[in-house]
Each structure stands twice: as structure tokens, then as C-alpha cells.
């Protein structure tokens, strides 16, 4: 395990006019660590994720990222082109709606291959072989490689989006409600797949979810957000089994038992 974090976030805030998106968020994320950000709709978790992934610029605060050459770079001081390059190579972003992260009118294989070409791979045979390998890792049959994701079910689309993100070997993946909108049986399969991939690849990930079961299964640490602020954070099982903040207690006690 490395003794240096991968991402350092300090006093990050985002205001929409006078309205608070998220306020004064600070944390470190280490390589191989999965951090869950939970809270109800409007708690600011997606705003935070968008700021961290530089899809949105914060109003104040800093976030530094340790590049592959171990140089620390301040995310909000990088040029747009540098940020886009980071996003295409060293980072992944898994959207809740796969249509936001996929190109729906090109084939599944091209969706995966496109990210490889972005990092400079030009060899068609090798790109295709890697695409086939990744499709099988996310449990999509090889004979679907030439189909467009439009023809895929919701669960398959989400698995394809994950393959597209992971094919470049990113070190940090952002996920926004990765299992939202899927049937429970499909959710379980996806979660199990994600859990295996994250462990095998030693990925660091920040997962935004309102589902505490998803947080428990995927993350080691979690932050609970309410009204744009972090009300409680810590080891995932500690926060869920011994919630201290009033809002966390409400969240945990609201889970329906089956």
C-alpha cells in the first residue's frame, strides 16, 4: 500500500448564487480505496462528484491529484485540455444513466475501443481483442460486440459503460448512482461485478449513492451528506452499525427490512 493519497480535497465549496451546492468538504482518498458518498436527493452529493471530476468548477477550495509520475497537480489550475486528457485516460466516470456515458449509435466494441484510441492505441486487431476481453469481463457475450447499445437492456448498458471506463486502466473512477434505475436482481449482479473489478484492479473510487446497501457492499469509508455538508464520516461499517449524527440515524433506521 502506498503511503501517499491519490486525491486531496480541501475546503471545497460550490454555491449556485446564494444557494449551497456543497460546502467545506475535505478528505483524502488513497489508492485502492472506495469512498461512498450518501445522502438523499438534494444533499449535494452529485454536485460534489461533479466538482471532483472537474465537470463543474467549485466556488472555492482546492483538490490535488497525484499523477502517474507522482507529481501533484491542482485540478482547478489545469488547462481544460489537460483535464480532458486525465478524464479520458487515468479517470473513469460511470453515470447513472448509461446513455450519458456511452455513444448509443456506435457498436459496443467501438464504445470500448474508442477509449483505447484516445490513449494512442491504433492497432485494430489489438483494440478489438481488448474490447472482446473487456466485454467478457463484464459478462457480455462476444457475439454482441457489433451491436449498438441501443439494442441492450439497462443492465447490459451499465456493464458496457463500466467496461468502457475501465479499459484504459484508470486509477480513479467516479460513479454516480451506478445501480440506480436497475431491477434488484440486475443490481445485485452489477454490484458483485463492480466489487470484484474494484478489488482485482486496486481501483480507487468515489461512489455517490442513496442506497446504504450499495455503500456497505462497495466501500470501506463513507461520508454522509445533508444540505451540502458532511454530517458524519468514517469507516463504512462503523457509520452504518453505530451511526452518531441524527441524520445518519434517521437514514439507517429508514431501511426497510426484507
Amino acid at each position: 500500500m502506498t503511503d501517499e493519497p491519490l486525491l486531496r480535497v480541501s475546503a471545497l465549496s460550490k454555491f449556485y448564487g446564494s444557494r449551497v451546492g456543497c460546502e467545506n468538504i475535505s478528505f483524502d482518498l488513497w489508492p485502492g480505496e472506495v469512498l461512498a458518498v450518501v445522502g438523499e436527493s438534494g444533499s449535494g452529493k452529485t454536485t460534489l462528484l461533479n466538482c471532483l471530476s472537474t465537470r463543474l468548477l467549485p466556488s472555492s477550495g482546492t483538490a490535488s491529484y497525484r499523477m502517474r509520475d507522482d507529481q501533484w497537480r491542482e485540478l482547478y489550475r489545469m488547462s481544460e485540455a489537460e483535464r480532458r486528457f486525465l478524464m479520458r485516460t487515468d479517470w473513469g466516470f460511470v453515470h447513472q444513466n448509461p446513455a450519458d456515458g456511452l455513444r448509443m449509435t456506435v457498436s459496443a466494441g467501438a464504445n470500448v475501443g474508442e477509449r483505447l484510441m484516445a490513449v494512442g492505441d491504433r492497432h485494430y486487431g489489438r483494440i478489438r481483442a481488448t474490447a472482446v476481453d473487456w466485454l467478457s469481463r463484464v459478462e457480455i457475450d462476444e457475439d454482441r460486440i457489433d451491436d449498438e447499445p441501443r439494442a441492450f437492456s439497462g443492465g447490459m448498458r451499465q456493464r458496457l459503460q463500466i467496461a468502457r471506463n475501465l479499459v484504459t486502466g484508470p486509477r480513479l473512477v467516479f460513479m454516480d448512482e451506478p445501480t440506480g434505475g436497475l431491477d434488484v436482481s440486475v443490481q445485485a449482479r452489477l454490484l458483485d461485478l463492480l466489487r470484484g473489478l474494484v478489488t482485482d484492479l486496486g481501483l480507487a473510487a468515489i461512489v455517490v449513492t442513496h442506497d446504504l446497501a450499495v455503500a456497505r457492499l462497495l466501500s470501506q469509508r463513507m461520508m454522509v451528506m445533508k444540505d451540502g455538508r458532511v454530517v458524519e464520516s468514517g469507516l463504512t461499517d462503523r457509520v452504518l452499525d453505530d451511526p452518531r449524527a441524527p441524520y445518519t440515524q434517521l437514514l439507517v433506521s429508514s431501511i426497510l427490512q426484507v
Binding site: 449482479r189 469509508r221 469507516l235 462503523r238 452499525d241 453505530d242 440515524q249 434517521l250
Partner: protein
């Protein structure tokens, strides 16, 4: 020999914010230490706080006051105030835990559930599986179940998977929360043997056993939890 685990003046209460902030004291002034090669057993009636103490020692419950000093990777750390990252490292290398119930993950086989703690410590998967097979055989779990996810297993079968998972590593400290609760006599005896082997290997063990026979067979010492009753001090 240094003492692997020292608990000093630990207190714990629950504040129920959804019940008008009612405060439920659980334990206070918890102080004891466990030596290497010793098995201490927490004694006292249900509700005395035995499980809560074990959960604090594993970082699963927060600690209100006091210190939990653990020998970890050549140094001493206070688990009560440690960062989540340190707690995870302690769990990976120093403190093992057998919970009362197995938390199952869909689609992961019993064999891999047992092997996982070793894989997390960096051992190769096949070697870890081999050790898992040995333990599951020792605990008499039918071989046809090994490749199946334990979600559909009986209580006793799940418990044996859980025990194997807890005993597979060489953690210097092992916490046991009623590991024999749903086992038959034959498998209880296996657990007693496993505990004896851990003691011989110099592991510090702390457990909760309601079964009198098992307790008599494994305990070097009973720590009476009623002495730490928070109500006694607060009320």
C-alpha cells in the same frame, strides 16, 4: 513478552436522536488486557455489553472515552482514536473477528469467502484456497457446498464458513462473538481444538461463549462485564 491488547477506561453509550436524544449508557470504565497465548472470555448476562465491547475492539462501534492500545506492525496504536485507514490496516494484519452471523455477498463461493482475508493480505489466491479447503474439511462442511455462495446455507453451515474465515489468518489477536452458538457437539469440539491451536501459537483471544462446556474448555480467565455496567456509575 509485550501485551498485544490493553483496554483502558473505555466507555460507550448510545444517543438516540430519533427518541428525543435519549442516552443509553452501555459500559464505562472497561479496563483489561489480554496476553499472548491466552483466551479470556467476557462473562455476564445478555445486555451487559459484551458484544459492544467486542465491536469497539474491532472498530465497528465508536468509543466515547478511553483507550484501546494494540500492538500493530511493531508499534502501539490507540484504536479508539485511530483513522479509518489505520483501523482497516489493523483488521487486515492484527485483529481478526468471528461475528455471530455471516454477512454474505451474492455470487461469491464459500471457499472464496473463507480465502478472502488471506488474499487481502496479499497471499496468492490458489494458496489461500488450499488453506480454506483444509479448514472447511476440518469443520466438516460437506465438500459439495464449497463452490456455492453461503446465502442459502443453514445457520450452522454459515457459522462454520464464518469460523473458517476468522481462523484462516495468523492475526495475533482474535475476537470471537459466540462462534459456537449454532453448532452441534462434534463441531463445537472442532472449534475448541482450533482455539487451543491458536493459543499454542501465541494468539491473544477474547471471546463470548454462552455454551458452558465450551467456555470451560477454552477460558483461561473470565472477565466479568457487569463490573463495567455504565448504569452502576451513572444511576
Amino acid at each position: 513478552m509485550p501485551t498485544p491488547l490493553v483496554v483502558s477506561e473505555v466507555a460507550k453509550s448510545f444517543t438516540m436522536h430519533l427518541r428525543d436524544g435519549v442516552r443509553l449508557p452501555v459500559v464505562a470504565g472497561v479496563s483489561f488486557s489480554i496476553r499472548a497465548g491466552e483466551c479470556a472470555v467476557l462473562g455476564g448476562p445478555s445486555g451487559a455489553g459484551k458484544s459492544s465491547i467486542l465491536k469497539m475492539l474491532y472498530g465497528n462501534y465508536a468509543v466515547d472515552e478511553g483507550q484501546i492500545i494494540v500492538q500493530h506492525e511493531g508499534g502501539l496504536i490507540d484504536l479508539a482514536s485511530a483513522s479509518p485507514r489505520t483501523v482497516l490496516s489493523v483488521r487486515r494484519h492484527t485483529i481478526g473477528y468471528v461475528s455471530q452471523f455471516l454477512r454474505t455477498v451474492p455470487r461469491v463461493s464459500a471457499l472464496d469467502v473463507v480465502a478472502e482475508p488471506l488474499v487481502e493480505r496479499g497471499e496468492d489466491r490458489e494458496g489461500a484456497r488450499e488453506k480454506a479447503r483444509t479448514l472447511l474439511a476440518q469443520l466438516n462442511l460437506p465438500e459439495k457446498l464449497w463452490a456455492l455462495p453461503p446465502a442459502t446455507f443453514s445457520g450452522g453451515e454459515q457459522q462454520r464458513v464464518n469460523i473458517a474465515r476468522g481462523f484462516i489468518t495468523e492475526h495475533p489477536i482474535l475476537l470471537l462473538d459466540e462462534p459456537t452458538a449454532s453448532l452441534d457437539a462434534r463441531n463445537r469440539d472442532v472449534v475448541v481444538e482450533l482455539i487451543a491451536a491458536k493459543k499454542a501459537a501465541g494468539v491473544a483471544l477474547l471471546g463470548i461463549f454462552h455454551d458452558q462446556d465450551v467456555r470451560d474448555a477454552v477460558a483461561d480467565r473470565i472477565i466479568d462485564v457487569t463490573a463495567f455496567a455504565a448504569g452502576r456509575i451513572a444511576a
